[in-house]
Assembly symmetry: C2
Homo-oligomer: 352 residues x 2
């Protein structure tokens, strides 16, 4: 009998993109951006019944581990793992899988970010179940690629090879393409041969650990050292190679498979992405909290505390928390990172 | 011997134009908009040594009288008069002058708003002194008109008649023109025959009261009733005709005189007007408080509490208080009144 599927939720993100709402101690995944529950809570509950709470693992940082356990009381506390520091996704995934009991490592693990949005959870569950079946039968590492609906230059893409199985729609991943330019992104969309890389992976635990040994021997060595001397976690962890699982492993696999994911996915990567998802009024404004929008259009006005009054604004993001206000054109909302950089330079830790 | 000059500062304004900084209980005149002291305090101290504190009178409302007395401890408390309700400037001026002792009424009174800015106080004092001399010698009511430096359609204008006296530059006022259209304002500026109506008047007290009797007999009657039954202030005051001193008296005078005032005057009538006066950085941003302005230009960013971070904004006013945020294009900052109207409709007295 094969072990039931485990889910590993990566919840270590620092969430600077939703400043001033997101902060170091309450990053995006812990916030209710688009619903009643936090993105992390939604990510966990969305897995059910394909993956039940007792089979959920969360990899986060020491700074956030208490908040994560509070938000997910149904997940066994010892399955909420705290990295002493962030060492990128290859280390996070390798370490987390290596912490699972050996019998679970024989089964399937689905790895997914804590802070994505899915409009159609049913379709999402069906796709991970199908990917899990393939990875179990074929010992194949799978990634779920999102069916693109616009020429988005901000994402990573998966180039697809031949269809390997007409029943499941399984296709091979030929290569990873990082953030193309606009023209290339348009070609990708038109050609129909590319999917967005959503950072969702499905594999048998032991298969992933074998790939680590093959492609990232230094990481494999570190994981063995951690198994032997778990009391030296901080010291050993600090020396693990810091590389993404995409670069370190997935891009090197000759048999990486994918299934297209068509579930109203959004990475919620910016205030603009949030605006896209939220209900909007007849002026295309999405508002939250106490907001007066007069002769204003196409804007996201988000009052976490207090009142925002806007007159005559167009395509703007305005966010108010108790201590800070953000004003930025919606189409430039990725540039919130410039504020983070400036706050770091000014050592305004109170605002980070 | 003639009584020394008295000043009457009109400080009853509700100051909705600087929302959210100004509120009903702390209108613009009580705020430090452009300096260390409040506009009211600056207005009072600017008069010295032409008018000393013991000769200053302030007409305000019951809601503000305590704050005014606190801000002006050097002004005798009994000279800070509290209207039971606002009945426009004719009533405020008539009542305040009638409250002065008879011997002061034989002297000159200068009436001025509490919330204007003067870049050159010396020039201002010289002009009111010159106007006072004329009003005393000729029993003439004088108004000070500001020398315009731009075709401003938002102001009232004084059309000038002949020069009556080449030594003083005294000119007659032919008529008042309310807010002209842009083309007319440009003609006014080009012709050089128009001044801005700044609401500053200079007259002998008794002369003004005679003009009230002549042109606003109903008001004169009310003032007499108040002298006879001061204990019925609220009841009698409520029945005083509500009309501006401009419409009720000044426009009806055939011998109204004026001197041009050239003192870097601003009525500080909007956030845009404040931006004009404030020091600005090389990107033409005027900022106050904790502000991060990245790739932003031509904007007023005013953080009364907390931090404002702006990226990529142009020509915008952003103001943050503890409980509210305003975002409005600078050139439309007069439209703050639309927010006030909306807040009144929503009965958000906490924000008014």
């Amino acid at each position: 009998m094969v072990a039931r599927m485990q889910a590993l939720i990566l919840a270590g993100g620092s969430g600077t993109r939703f400043w001033p709402l997101s902060r170091r101690v309450r990053p995006k995944q812990l916030l209710s951006m688009a619903g009643e529950t936090s993105l992390l809570q939604t990510t966990a509950s969305r897995l059910s019944p394909v993956v039940e709470p007792q089979s959920i693992w969360v990899c986060t940082t020491e700074r956030l581990v208490d908040s994560v356990r509070q938000q997910l009381p149904q997940v066994p506390a010892e399955q909420v793992l705290a990295e002493p520091e962030g060492r990128n996704t290859a280390a996070a995934i390798g370490w987390s899988v290596s912490r699972m009991p050996a019998e679970l490592q024989t089964g399937v693990v689905v790895v997914l970010p804590a802070d994505h949005y899915m409009g159609d959870p049913e379709a999402f569950r069906a796709t991970i179940q199908a990917a899990a079946d393939i990875s179990l039968e074929q010992d194949r590492v799978m990634t779920l690629g999102v069916l693109p609906n616009r020429p988005e230059p901000g994402y990573g893409y998966l180039e697809l090879g031949d269809e390997l199985d007409p029943t499941t729609g399984l296709r091979q991943v030929l290569r990873f393409v990082e953030k193309p330019d606009q023209a290339t992104a348009e070609q990708f969309l038109a050609g129909g041969n590319y999917l967005w890389n959503a950072g969702i992976f499905v594999f048998r635990g032991q298969v992933l650990l074998d790939k680590v040994t093959e492609h990232l021997p230094e990481l494999a060595q570190g994981l063995r050292a951690l198994e032997e001397s778990p009391e030296d976690l901080a010291e050993i962890y600090a020396r693990l190679p810091s590389i993404s699982v995409d670069h370190g492993i997935m891009e090197k696999l000759s048999d990486l498979g994918t299934l297209p994911l068509d579930c109203g996915w959004s990475d919620l990567g910016s205030w603009e992405a949030l605006w896209e998802l939220l209900d909007r009024d007849s002026d295309e404004n999405a508002t939250s909290g106490s907001v007066l929008a007069i002769d204003s259009h196409d804007s996201l006005i988000f009052a976490d505390q207090g009142t925002i009054a806007a007159v005559g604004v167009e395509g703007l993001v305005v966010v108010k928390t108790g201590d800070a206000v953000l004003v930025i054109p919606k189409r430039r909302s990725q540039e919130v990172r410039r504020i983070i950089a400036e706050l770091e330079q000014r050592r305004r830790n109170d605002l980070l």
